[in-house]
């Protein structure tokens, strides 16, 4: 699913955020990406979300080279990727239902399809009773479940999560991780960036460790 060959990301200050990174993540795999702050986890996720491009090397996701993409191809690629962030990134002025249907809506899907998908994913994350609530009325765990539901609504082939449990207590963190495990069990590739070693140990999946932009463990 993900194939990185000698990927480097050099910032203008002459600092390498990633250096000669080579790794592979298979289709349907669940992988943790870990390492201390500044190790390059977020940079790799930015590259995988095509918010940035590698300075050198080749990064291929689902058979598509992320280095050579037009704006339209980037849009098309992102539609096949779900994302979850530490700060949830929910729209505060919209309800749970509107936050979730926002994705199919801006992709021009018919309202009936939007409704059907929204109820499916809300039921799946256990929030079907909160669809009219606004994000500020939800707990941190509930907000993150809404974010997960939004990531899933478009049936992505790949789900990327950047410190998705960073703002949650250990029990809620495990609950969210169980959601990711369920997502993975349905055949979706999941890549979770976290520095929570305890959580990684409890979930027990393949782990890729980065340090100072280098891969130190779990090349695959």
């Amino acid at each position: 699913m993900i194939d990185a060959q000698q990927v480097s990301k050099l910032y203008t200050r002459g600092v390498y955020a990633l250096r000669d990174l080579t790794l592979a993540v298979g289709k349907g795999e669940f992988v943790f990406l870990t390492g201390p702050s500044g190790a390059g986890k977020s940079t790799l996720l930015r590259l995988l979300l095509r918010q940035d491009v590698p300075s050198s090397g080749h990064l291929v996701v689902g058979g598509r080279s992320l280095s050579k993409m037009s704006a339209t191809q980037v849009q098309d690629y992102r539609r096949s990727v779900g994302f979850v962030f530490q700060d949830f990134k929910l729209i505060p002025t919209r309800t749970v239902y509107e936050n979730i249907t926002f994705v199919p809506r801006v992709l021009g899907q018919p309202p009936a399809v939007q409704r059907k998908k929204a109820f499916q994913v809300l039921k799946w994350v256990g929030l079907q009773h909160r669809l009219n609530a606004f994000p500020e009325e939800l707990s941190g765990g509930e907000q993150q479940r809404v974010a997960v539901a939004r990531a899933l609504i478009n049936d992505p082939a790949l789900v990327l999560a950047d410190e998705p449990t960073g703002n949650l207590d250990p029990d809620l963190a495990l609950e969210i991780m169980n959601l990711f495990r369920d997502i993975n069990a349905r055949g979706t590739t999941v890549l979770v960036a976290t520095h929570d070693r305890d959580l990684i140990r409890r979930v027990g999946k393949r782990t890729i460790t980065l340090e100072q932009g280098h891969l130190t463990e779990g090349r695959g």
Binding site: L49, D76, R78, R79, P92, R105, V106, G108
Partner: protein, 296 residues
């Protein structure tokens, strides 16, 4: 495509309602700029109508010397008739000229009565054919008449109409520059307001970018918002122009003592109203595009 348009209009309407204070300010500001644009158009239209009427009524006045003989008068009549420029010729006797003077200037009538003799000469009023009023032949005819025996002076009011046309032309050019400045001001106001909307919705835009939303969905609502603001501004400007026209027209006619007639002051034609509305929408659309170009 239809879904994108429906989405853009829905989001734009919601955004305008949520920030109705700023939206109203933008509409009034854009409206003020478009009002000036419309006023220039209105003045241009009325000035055109007025000058056309004056041009059509352009006359050549041939003043006769005291004691001009019937033969000399007949020669003048023949010259005018032979020129082919005249639509009508009327003789105004000195007594008739004095009577007209008293009618037009009643305040001076008493003073004129104290004069020992009538100071006004007899004259011919030559009505020119409207289609030939600008013909160079009129100048040649005036010069020819001026040389004839029994003629003391020839006045051709086409000259001051030409001067007026030149002035109006210059004012129109200056008005065009002014209009461009005001259109730019309206556009920039709308850009600033739409940019505020964009700033307020940056979280949504970021999410839209991350989910791969088409550019039409990301920028569309802001372009529509600008267009609606421009259109509303044009409607405000039209309402202002309408008010000014209906209240100001009779007063202007009264103030000009009949020089300007009610019929000279026309309101904008339907095509011009549509052009002003379309102009407002285009200016707003441009403002929306300028603001939205940062969202990609």
């Amino acid at each position: 495509m239809i879904a994108a348009i429906v989405y853009a209009f829905g989001e734009a309407a919601l955004s305008l309602w949520r920030r109705r204070g700023a939206s109203l300010l933008a509409v009034v500001t854009a409206g003020a700029s478009l009002f000036v644009l419309g006023l220039l158009l209105l003045v241009g239209v009325s000035a055109g109508t007025l000058l056309a009427r004056w041009s059509a009524a352009a006359e050549l006045s041939v003043y006769l010397a005291d004691g001009a003989s019937p033969t000399e008068r007949a020669a003048v009549e023949r010259a005018v008739s032979a020129s082919g420029l005249s639509a009508g010729l009327s003789y105004v006797a000195a007594d008739e000229a004095l009577r007209r003077f008293r009618g037009q200037f009643p305040d001076l009538a008493a003073a004129a009565a104290t004069l020992p003799a009538n100071p006004l000469p007899a004259s011919y009023e030559v009505q020119l054919r409207p289609e030939r009023a600008r013909d160079p032949g009129v100048d040649r005819l005036a010069a020819q008449l001026r040389q004839m025996a029994g003629v003391s002076d020839v006045r051709y009011d086409r000259r001051w109409i030409d001067r007026l046309l030149t002035i109006v032309g210059a004012l129109r050019s200056a008005g065009g520059v002014l209009a461009a400045i005001f259109a730019a001001a309206a556009c920039l106001t709308i850009t600033a307001v739409v940019r505020l909307a964009l700033h307020a919705r940056r979280a949504e835009i970021e999410i839209m970018q991350l989910v791969g939303a088409p550019l039409a969905y990301i920028r569309g609502p802001f372009v529509v918002e600008g267009t609606l603001l421009g259109l509303a501004g044009a409607l405000v400007a039209l309402a202002g122009l309408g008010g000014l026209y209906w209240f100001g027209r009779p007063r202007l006619v009264e103030a000009t003592a009949g020089l300007v007639a009610l019929g000279d002051l026309q309101f904008l034609a339907a095509a011009q109203i549509l052009a002003l509305l379309a102009g407002g929408a285009v200016i707003g659309c441009l403002g929306g595009l300028l603001a939205a170009r940062t969202a990609r």
